[in-house]
Symmetry: D2
């Protein structure tokens, strides 16, 4: 960490700052320029609060050189993490495909979709039981009942299930859920993250609408700091000025996260674009960019989906996407 001091800082102030920094267990290294003095903080600065130092009267700016995330950091865990989920896994050689309806609507619906997506190569079933909706008047999901239907479909097809949690108090309902999703709007619901860190459940953490990659990793770090290292990251589009797509899918997040962390990274092209006919090209692009998997919305009757229907694929369109994804995966085998 580097602290650039303000012009006109006196020797005495510098001494006093250095003394204090040393009490924090750091070594300091002073470098005087023609306009500014710069102090280098040497040692483990990961638990130092940069804003605290930046707040000092004599400090102009502070710049971190080491990353503030540790457990998620590839530097300290060079090998890719492989997260086992039921009879399959995410990360490593298996390309995960999580598919299913935005909202669970009925047992028949989930069962029909589960069978269809399994036939096309899905490795997990996803479906929303608790639904975060912008309006309190929109459909909020079947809740506990929706989880029941997903578990029925799991029993029938063997597919592990992924579903979103919105409230830590509901955790007991998720006991047989294989992967618990934290949605984009809850990426910085730190209380929820801490609670999930105390479990051993696999967590699928979605990037927030307006969150940087570093913040994304810090949210993973919240869960890991509690002892739970079973985390799958999911890029799902960020908010920009462009209005043609619902969000802007940031595929450069894949290789960037690959560098910074050992955690697996999947992509959700359905929510990122909000448009069914953009799902295929973005799924292929994600596969080509080195993603560990995809999360895709599939509905048996998109014209009647209770939410996000505009971005759902039919089972046939999904089968077409997975076939094309396999071709791209073969093509990029060994290129990274």
């Amino acid at each position: 960490m580097i602290a650039v001091l303000k012009n006109g800082t006196s020797e005495k102030q510098i001494d006093s700052l250095c003394t204090w920094l040393k009490t924090q267990g750091l070594d300091v290294h002073i470098s005087k320029g023609s306009e500014h003095t710069v102090i280098g903080l040497i040692g483990d600065t990961s638990k130092i609060d940069a804003e605290l130092i930046e707040s000092l009267d004599i400090v102009e700016t502070v710049k971190r050189i080491s990353e503030p995330f540790k457990s998620a950091n590839r530097k300290f865990h060079p090998d890719d993490s492989i997260i086992n989920v039921g009879n399959t896994s995410v990360g490593g050689d298996i390309f995960a495909i999580m598919a299913g309806p935005c909202s669970v609507e009925s047992e028949e619906q989930v069962m029909e979709i589960a069978k269809a997506v399994k036939a096309s190569g899905a490795t997990m079933l996803r479906g929303g039981a608790f639904k975060p909706r912008t309006s309190p008047y929109d459909f909020q999901g079947l809740k506990a009942c929706g989880i029941e239907f997903l578990l029925e479909a799991k029993k029938e097809t063997g597919l592990p299930i992924v579903t979103e949690i919105m409230n830590a108090n509901h955790l007991s309902l998720f006991e047989e859920v294989d992967v618990i999703q934290v949605g984009a709007r809850n990426m910085q619901n730190f209380e929820l993250l801490k609670e999930l860190g105390r479990t051993k459940k696999t967590i699928l953490l979605k990037r927030g609408l307006a969150n940087t990659i570093k913040e994304f990793l810090m949210s993973a770090e919240y869960i890991m700091a509690g002892g739970n290292e079973n985390i799958i990251l999911c890029e799902r589009g960020i908010r920009t000025f462009e209005t043609y797509t619902r969000n802007t899918l940031d595929l450069s997040a894949i290789p960037t996260l690959r560098e910074l962390t050992h955690l697996p990274i999947i992509v959700d092209p359905s929510h990122a674009t909000g448009v069914a006919r953009l799902v295929k090209p973005m799924a292929l692009a994600a596969a080509a960019a080195g993603a560990d998997g995809l999360m895709i919305e599939v509905h048996n009757d998109p014209t009647h989906a209770l939410c996000d229907g505009a971005q759902s694929l039919t089972p046939d369109a999904f089968a077409d996407v997975t076939a094309a994804v396999r071709k791209v995966l073969d093509a990029v085998k060994g290129v990274y």
Copy 2:
């Protein structure tokens, strides 16, 4: 609500759609253009899910003409809401000034700041007991103990207190808290909003980093739909590409919200800019633009604040700001 149909939609499809819409309790009005047919939905469309209709095969786009928020809507509640808080209020003739430390650090600290800000005209004391921090390794607040210290300061000074909640399970700790703050990162934590809607506590709702004004109002609507209409809105900066300030303060939100809603609107220039010396000009600008109040960070020793020190004012600087704010308020009396 207007639905623009795709080119090539048949008469039969149009009939079938209209029939279905009528079963939802709406009247329809069909208008055929040279390229597109447009269906107008007439009646109470506030509880209709626009995405559901947009997902239909034959529909190109859907446009809401009436706003989807009702309880927060000025159209149905033309007079400004005045929210009573202890011996003061927010909205109407009183200009609210909430001031205090980012983090409660000790009883002495809070007491000293409370007395200082009261002397300079603060109408409420704010202070963080539960702190949302990007990193799990940063200081997370004194929690219950912090609330105790705030209540001591309230007893001593008579100032009502404002403090943030991060978890609905902590509600019992907030019983004597006058205003419960929902932070920007929790603006779309719908479970928390619903829980607060079931209370009668006054809620200070902060705008999310990447949330539109309409989404902001929908989050207020979540609380109001539960029966709690005691809401204060707070603009605190949005995330943009500009890096000089921490966020970009969107002051046009004040007159815009004034038009759309009857709820009072305050501004937090401290978090919006993240820079102490920008607090004064932005506080004056907010007062000039018609805000109902301000939330300002004040610390007795900014160089040692445990968080966000860079944006805190000293008590003297705060007194200077409030004096200038009073002048601006006098100047704009009656101009709107």
Copy 3:
């Protein structure tokens, strides 16, 4: 086009508006809702100024249903445009690869890179002679001399050349240049676009940092309205809050533009990310998403590039990228 009228508009005002619209050659269709009256404008509204109508006292909002771009619109030109450039082309079956240095530095440099990129499958040579730089103190390019060096390299290798124009007064220097690039910062330099519309040169138009896809197409329309239909579109990243990459590459622009326009679309992963090691994954992703080509920065000595060196590939790294791109192109043959 649809105009939503304000509440309380009188019959007489509506009549008067309709009469005026009819004098503009449009038919009108009136639809009265419970809260609002909506007027549909029927006929060729492409040359109607929506803002003019929105400015009327009685109008609340205006919404275009047909797109305001005509020459670039796929609806009126269903087949993909193929732009011939020297002995090659962009669009259709040929995948264009434009490669070369950010800045032309010397004849030797350009010649060496030209031969190297040709050997790895580049179809064109790109290099900057006139350089847009944020600072007036940064290197501004070799200008006319740089173009000479590019032409020498073209003579030697047969590769058509692509280079940026910043001033219409320089057009005479571009006579033998095969493709004239308009940079992101000039995407809405309408005077330059109009001047280029009067030529028959092939124009590579880059998307502006903060421009929507619709604005991008309107800028192409500026050139086409002048009679020049030889346009190649280039997605090169948009500005967002994320700071890890220089810009955020918006790959969903590829299928979106594919739908909206017949013009070919290439992608520049070098400028989009600003990081050499992200070029390969983003190039593969672009190929998988259906791009018609790539523009990639290649330098023989990246550690001494006069500008943008951080994002340049060595010739060897470039060869590795093109080999991988070919595999992905084979994989996606026929999938769209």
Copy 4:
């Protein structure tokens, strides 16, 4: 300037870099941390290309500590610049109010508005003769003829005139124009900026839609580097995700620019919001935040304005705004 070296850089590489830096006229200061070595560059680094250094193999990041702008920098020119324009000025004690129509439509129109705005306290007349429009099919302005009409109005009222240039080749038409405006879309049209730097005309430079404050100052620096120091900066809103207003007015740019530069700063609330009824609150906020002036659109018949009518005020509404602005200016006299 500080360069952080990559892990594993050898002593020999460090020596070689330092030797090279010294040949550039800089002193270097080396600081070795536990993870990274940091080199401080001491001396005049304003003309050093940071990207060049960042491109070196052994360098991880580069951070400027001194600003790269010199002529515009308050550090080297502590007093506020006052720009004289005809019989008035911008900066210092005079609060500039530039008012007039978005587009010049006729001599009568301009004359009528000029008289009206003068009566309400405008210090200059602004009007568009050359109009940048997103669509080639929208009205492009009366051009030379529009300037004639403005000059007639100047002769009649004595108000200096402000009008936009889009092409340096038109400069001869601007000989009698008092202030030449460079629009947001041309803020980084560096060729135009350089050409204007060679004149002695006063330039009103508008901030680009997606440009940072630092880039804004670098564009001013382009003009100043040519010898022309008569520059007025204008904040006019930046592009964000919010769609309620056309842009998001960034009023924190006023105090920020005040710190960084000695150039005067005005605000354009009309273009920033795009909504006439938001002009007044944003004008008052700008005055309260310390702006040196305003640019406001006024039209005698907003319902028939050829462009941007939705954001124009009537002369009466403008008079109401200027009266309120005067009150706020009185209130903030001496507060900064």
